[in-house]
Subunit: 345 residues, 2 copies
């Protein structure tokens, strides 16, 4: 069977109607909806065909039809092809003083959730190519040393360690020079035992401090790799959609959202099969995360240069307003790009 123009019209009408109401839609409704070009009987016939073709589903005999995953997929693919010429302004997205990426991301998630009325998710940046850029030791106290490390992408880490022996200012200066000249520009993998033992030799009496520093360096960089930050917001929005908010499903979905390890999978999956413009739509079972089979997930990848990349996601009911979500996300991406490219952060 062929998906002729009339079938497409009807399919679209069904999907749009269902998006509004969340209720199965019947033939008469559609007949009225499309200015009665065709009677309900005709629609019925077409709907029967559409069901056979797998685009719509009947929850039970004598109920209207609702779109199937395949139906949504068709609809979304159509939207994805549209060029969005008009750029809606999301003025609120003006990002204030960007000093701490974390804060911005959290606010962004909040904003997205509020804007779309769905749940939003945003992963903190993953840093690839982790080259060490700068190290600084400072004496904060007689027995306390402050270690500051800057990694490519201007990611800063610091920690305070206790030391036994005292170090003079001069010695500290030398150590700083030694550390920077030996380590700068290297990734963790490149900091080999050879490099280390050479440094220790040169550090002389303070080789113990070198050990401490290396620990902290390795630790600082590692931490951010293994437990990626993921922020969610607007999780409770799901209560706005009856088909998601029965106790069973709500509980499952919310707990999926609460445990970041699940979202981690999502972010990973998104990163793997990236498509051209970085935006991806998962409908129902297509989602890489199990607990979201009843939802749709729209994801986008942001890239702020310097190897700072992350993922943004919107999670809502299958009947989510794809057009709006896609537009919002596209918009956000451009804004992010603009802001961060200018700022040079």
């Amino acid at each position: 069977m062929e998906l002729d123009e009339r079938k497409v019209t009807i399919l679209k009408a069904i999907i749009k109607n269902y998006m509004d109401t969340g209720e199965p839609v019947g033939s008469r409704t559609i007949s009225k909806y499309i200015d009665s070009k065709w009677s309900s009987a005709t629609i019925r016939n077409e709907m029967s065909d559409l069901e056979e073709m797998g685009y719509i589903i009947q929850p039970h005999t004598s109920a209207g039809r609702i779109p199937s995953d395949k139906g949504y997929r068709f609809y979304v693919d159509q939207i994805l092809q549209e060029k969005d010429s008009e750029v809606t302004e999301i003025q609120e997205l003006m990002i204030q003083r960007v000093d701490r990426l974390e804060l911005v991301l959290k606010q962004l998630a909040k904003l997205l959730a509020k804007d779309t009325n769905y749940a939003a998710l945003i992963s903190g940046p993953q840093y690839h190519r982790n080259k060490l850029k700068f190290i600084q030791l400072s004496k904060v106290d007689v027995h306390k040393l402050l270690i500051v490390t800057v990694v490519e992408g201007n990611l800063i880490k610091n920690s305070i360690v206790n030391i036994q022996e005292e170090i003079s200012d001069e010695e500290l200066l030398n150590l700083n020079i030694l550390l920077n000249s030996s380590l700068n520009g290297l990734t963790i993998e490149e900091i080999s035992l050879g490099v280390i033992s050479r440094m220790k030799e040169q550090a002389g009496p303070h080789s113990q401090v070198v050990d401490l520093v290396l620990n902290e360096v390795a630790d600082a960089i590692k931490v951010d790799e293994e437990d990626l930050q993921i922020y969610t917001s607007g999780a409770t929005n799901i209560f706005k959609y009856p088909e998601l908010s029965d106790n069973q499903k709500a509980s499952q979905l919310l707990s999926t959202l609460e445990h970041t390890e699940n979202l981690q999978e999502l972010v990973d999956a998104v990163n793997e099969n990236e498509n051209e413009n970085g935006i991806q739509v998962y409908i129902g079972d297509e989602s890489p995360v199990k607990g979201m089979a009843d939802c749709s997930v729209v994801t986008a990848n942001y890239d702020l240069g310097d190897g700072i990349r992350g993922t943004i996601g919107i999670i809502g009911p299958k009947r989510m307003d794809y057009r709006k979500v896609l537009k919002t996300l596209r918009n956000l991406m451009t804004q992010l790009d603009a802001t961060f490219k200018n700022d040079e952060r």
Copy 2:
């Protein structure tokens, strides 16, 4: 009327029973529960009295009784008086390498939620007495300066700023000395215009940098005051308690938990009327946050010295296992104390 011994026994029995089952408890149940010292009829009479006195409530005629807020209050006050001699070990609470307070707090919240099966909340530290301890400027790039500030309590902040003019290593060293000698030991309030203009004079050509630094210092310290970090965990645990998990209530409670500004109120309130051992129990309407009228909230204040203080909270149904929660919290406090006092962080 007097709360005689028998009434107390019966009241306790009702509360305990209700805690287990979550269902209204009737006179016969109680009669069996207390080894049939009294018949159900007697119990009925006493229950009638207890209801009149306001300790228990009948949801509807011909249902059993459930404890009222006043009833819970009585029960909790009794527990609060108990000395807890035996110290249960919560081995899992061993805190691993404590490098980032944030992470520890998050994990702590998770642990609490898992342990108690209620929702847990933990506020990041509020820093009182914000004395500046140490400043360090470093050149990361030709036009990029890294500013690291350490505040009393070893709270570290950093940021990277762009500068126009170039600064030589020597000038930077002098600036560092100037900044530290002028600012160390001062609070924000003490950094007056006088101090500032004097510094600028001495900084000579680089007075502009001084401005930048001051901005960052002020900003860094301010940020943590106005938007306090609050972590929650186990919010979905509330679905385990039918009396909280109907759609209406669950939605409200979850959204209250999601919006930190609400929790902020809680933390503030807790800080205001602190009682002797720092642990407090809010039952139902007693809670300072509106959205929690159907729950009980148990809070504790932690104090890690150096002016680092915060709040921990457990949120659960009114019939929560108060004894367990109180024990867990008390335990946690001692552990925190021990860990941080030793580590000197």
